[in-house]
């Protein structure tokens, strides 16, 4: 029997993770619970230019994002129940530890019973990156890349560029500064963005395909660069927009994750090529 070995996390990472786990972004306008879970339809996200929060030295500060499709809202407990029903190896009692830590689906009552703590149209959480990826594959989809997710999330309520939408900006600030409710809200209750996509901000954090790409320079130095680049005093000089605090938080959160982690406010949604 071999104990699971993790390289030691930096103190700030542990602290940040703790902080973020406590500080789940709150949600927008809460609606009444709907009778049946909404169908996870997809929305086309038009091609465009994305300016990443962080630009490594020597790189252009914008990337072209080709058109893709994205789920209208995060995957729900109801959706996930269907997945584990059809894929026994992803049931809580069956899952291999290497693919999901001991917190996997811990809020469910049983293997095939989400129970009262996991209503069918609440976003599924306590799922690992491997589980999210397997779900997406089962649907014939994939996870969105960091770039795709961040780009789609910049769309405002009434403008393509959310930074020019004061209402959207105000909502984001409100979401990220309000403490978490004890129970997760339902999906697709908050106001949709101009593309018709819900819950980018303020419901749950979300897995991305390449969450483990968040480093700036791993070359010739002992540790990956993003911690220093993003969290040391001088590091934020490289940021496009230091005031985009939510994006900053998301980057920090991603870089503190390991693929087997299951966390109470971390869910996912799927993407697909056109």
């Amino acid at each position: 029997m071999v104990s699971r070995h993790h390289p030691p996390m930096h103190a700030w990472t542990a602290g940040l993770l703790f902080l973020l786990v406590l500080l789940r972004p709150a949600y927008g306008e809460e609606g009444a619970a709907k009778e049946s879970p909404p169908k996870a339809s997809m929305v086309e996200v038009p091609a465009g230019t994305h300016r990443p929060l962080f630009v490594p030295p020597g790189e252009t500060n914008s990337v072209q994002v080709p058109v893709f499709r994205l789920d209208r809202h995060p995957v729900t407990n109801g959706d996930y129940l269907e997945f584990v029903s059809q894929n026994p190896k992803w049931r809580r009692s069956q899952v291999k530890r290497i693919f999901a830590d001991e917190n996997y689906l811990r809020h469910w009552a049983g293997d095939l019973e989400p129970g009262e703590a996991a209503m069918s149209n609440q976003p599924v959480t306590w799922v690992s990156w491997f589980a999210a990826k397997a779900y997406a594959q089962w649907q014939g989809k994939r996870l969105p890349t960091v770039t795709e997710w961040e780009y789609a999330a910049t769309h405002g309520f009434s403008t393509l560029d959310g930074s020019k939408d004061p209402e959207f900006q105000a909502a984001i600030r409100r979401w990220y500064s309000t403490p978490s409710p004890t129970s997760l809200p339902l999906v697709a209750q908050g106001r949709a963005n101009i593309l018709g996509i819900h819950d980018f901000h303020g419901l749950v954090w979300e897995w991305t395909a390449d969450f483990n790409s968040s480093l700036v320079t791993g070359d010739a130095r002992g540790n990956s660069g993003i911690e220093r680049q993003l969290f040391c005093g001088a590091g934020s000089a490289g940021n496009r927009n230091p005031s985009d605090y939510p994006a900053f938080l998301r980057y920090g959160f991603r870089s503190s994750l390991k693929a087997s982690y299951c966390i109470h406010n971390l869910g996912f949604r799927c993407a697909a090529d056109l």
Binding site: H6, P56, I98, N212, G218, D219, R221, K258
Partner: protein
């Protein structure tokens, strides 16, 4: 003396290019071991992965063929200008620090980040350039998704930068015979002693 050197160099080259010949399983290099059917793997074993990888011997292999011997694993890419030669050097230092008997029972695995360029020929050329013995060293590349997944399991972060170089964390991982992560060493230019000691410990447990 010179003749002996030349001869041995030729032999090395011939062996490298000969790739895999049919030999008794026990003595065949990692690239060419036969996989026994119907094996089960522990919950923490990396060998649960179904992905197939291209080895420099030009074969598609499952990592499962590596089961049964400790593996010292690192990720790299052949066009790397910075860290990768240093990582490979760190692996060689670990190899050199092992007692002869343990060294004969230990494998080294290099997995490429670069799914586009690191085909079998590129890996073969790298093996020659770095003088990595066939008997112990396995070099593989794979599909981008499979590379991302293995990196996630090992805890390696990486991204392709604008110059076509991969920025990546430098991490050396020790897998036991079952393919479970038993130790990791972060950073470059580390002393090999600690890792060598852990490999000797593993060898003692077998």
């Amino acid at each position: 003396m010179k003749a002996i050197l030349t001869a041995s160099l030729c032999l090395c080259l011939c062996l490298a290019f000969a790739g895999c010949r049919t030999r008794p399983v026990a003595a065949s290099p990692p690239c060419c071991r036969e996989l026994k059917a119907g094996q089960s793997y522990t919950d923490s074993s990396l060998y649960q992965l179904d992905s197939l990888w291209s080895s420099d011997a030009g074969k598609q292999i499952s990592l499962r063929v590596l089961r049964g011997r400790p593996q010292v694993v690192a990720m790299f890419f052949t066009r790397c200008e910075y860290a990768c030669p240093l990582i490979v050097n760190d692996l060689k230092k670990i190899e050199a620090a092992l007692p002869e008997k343990v060294r004969q029972q230990t494998d080294f695995l290099l997995v490429s980040f670069d799914s586009t360029n690191d085909h079998a020929e590129a890996l073969r050329a790298y093996r020659l350039r770095q003088k990595l013995p066939m008997q112990r060293w396995t070099l593989v590349s794979g599909k981008a998704d499979d590379v991302r997944e293995l990196a996630a399991l090992l805890g390696v972060n990486y991204r392709l930068d604008a110059r076509g170089q991969f920025a990546h964390s430098n991490l050396i991982t020790l897998l036991n015979v079952e393919g479970e992560i038993t130790a990791q060493q972060q950073g470059l230019n580390q002393s090999p002693e600690e890792m060598a000691r852990k490999i000797v410990l593993l060898a003692g447990q077998r």
